[in-house]
Amino acid sequence: EAAKYEKKVMVLDFVMPTPLGNSWGLGGTCVNVGCIPKKLMHQAALLGQALQDSRKYGWQFTEEVKHNWMTMTESVQNYIGSLNWGYRVSLREKNVTYENAYGEFVGPHTVKATNKRGVEKLYTAERFLIATGERPRYLGIPGDKEYCISSDDLFSLPYCPGKTLVVGASYVALECAGFLAGLGLDVTVMVRSILLRGFDQDIANKIGEYMEEHGINFIREFVPIKVEQIEEGTPGRLKVTAKSTTGNQIIEGEYNTVLLAIGRDACTRKIGLDKVGVKINEKTGKIPVNDEEQTNVPYIYAVGDILQDKLELTPVAIQAGRLLVQRLYGGATSKCDYVNVPTTVFTPLEYGACGYSEETAVEKFGEENIEVYHSHFWPLEWTVPSRDNNKCYAKIICNIQDNERVIGFHVLGPNAGEITQGFAAAMKCGLTKEQLDSTIGIHPVCAEV
């Protein structure tokens, strides 16, 4: 965007390898080890389910259908490779200088870039934008870095993970557990306390129930305290010892793979922010910015997952970045709107949401001032193969004091992401319950609910 305004721009992108040595190309987390491979693997799992359903719709095939991890991973990585290359070409064509080097501040307006061969170069600039994102957190227990993998490793794993223990209850944990199980693997999820912290808990529990009913084991209120290797291999065999969070009970389990998804930490501690005086939240590592994405140092800006109190979503970071540049160099005034940003969790039963969760709405407006409308529904496509009745669910939360304005939208069911996008636009326009009611539904689709 900045190059469009004829500014001289440089991008420093460097991926510190994972403890297991994994790295990737240009594009950030979303493209390489996040949304893109995640959605593709989720789709692989959905296709598996579709194949099973298809028999009820009349498709006849006698062979057992099996899944090949390597075939899927190769296709996914190939696609990611084409994206990495596309970005390189794009930057080059717009005259943006790209260095595959680790950037850190060394003094006012000055950055040091170190490439993978250790060669250092210094650069100065008028302004800087930090968008270093986050990396998965490790447990800090014996065996975690040596034997466990994270989402950074999963999407390019050169062998099928086999029987997997997923530690965590974040959307990353549940999405991964979901598609791994969908591909036919034996999956267990170890949860310390609640599922999907920060999301509507009513829906979070429904998601957990659905996953459990579909063969994913949950071990609740336990945390791993030790991971040991029983046998080397691809995959090997690992022994996990865990302790209860409510007592002294100890349990042990054997798995081929242990996937850690317990949270992500901002990459702000080792980039020399102290040398230029950029304040960060010492506890979380996040950077507080004003509503124009500016840090406490006027010529340094930040966008993306590293921002304090902002949503960790790719489109939010992109939008914030674009608008920032348009304000700085294009004379625009629009600021990034962080309210009513829609999002979707791609668990086996997809969950799309925009606006307040029920708990947050009650907290902010008071229970007597909100009205919740909800409904279970049975997608037409699920009727023929006799798939779960009464699992899909939709609810909207309205602010009674403001014309019954829709302040929260939640849908649990297939294609939740596609459904939610339109409603997010409507909410931006100030959708009220009455307007929603007077909109005639499309039939037969889930969204008509």
């Binding site: 190939n78 084409s82 290359w85 390189r88 070409v89 064509e93 595959n100």
Partner: protein, 122 residues
């Protein structure tokens, strides 16, 4: 050792040559056939070829540069020709690094910087 060039015509020859050099970096430039006077029916290929040739010295050692004539215009326009179907080529000229998703298509091949980037990218 430097690099070497192989000139081939048609899909079969291309695949055989690529297979023979398996293990070495292989770059391929696909162009439309040339007439008796040495001029291609594809005007973009005429523009791109000298640009690409000028950057060949940037290829890593041991590289093989395969210069491949795809066929006449009619063959190329057929949506089912082997290059389109198997190599997923969408246009000529195409310059690619064999076995990777890295490629430059049509006008992208006119830009020396992009060509250089393709040859030197890790």
């Amino acid at each position: 050792m430097g690099w070497e060039e192989k000139q081939v015509r048609g899909y079969l020859e291309f695949v055989q040559t690529a297979q023979r050099y398996h293990g070495r970096p292989i770059f391929a430039l696909f162009c439309g056939d040339k007439d008796a006077a040495g001029k291609s029916w594809c005007p973009d290929c005429v523009t791109a070829e000298p640009v690409v040739r000028k950057e060949l010295h940037n290829m890593p050692d041991e590289s093989v540069f395969i210069y491949c004539l795809v066929g006449d215009r009619t063959y190329w326009k057929d949506p089912n020709n082997e290059f389109r179907k198997n190599l997923k080529l969408t246009g000529v000229p195409t310059l690619l690094k064999y076995g990777t998703p890295q490629k430059l298509v049509e006008e992208e091949c006119f830009k020396a910087e992009l060509v250089r980037m393709l040859f030197t990218e890790d």
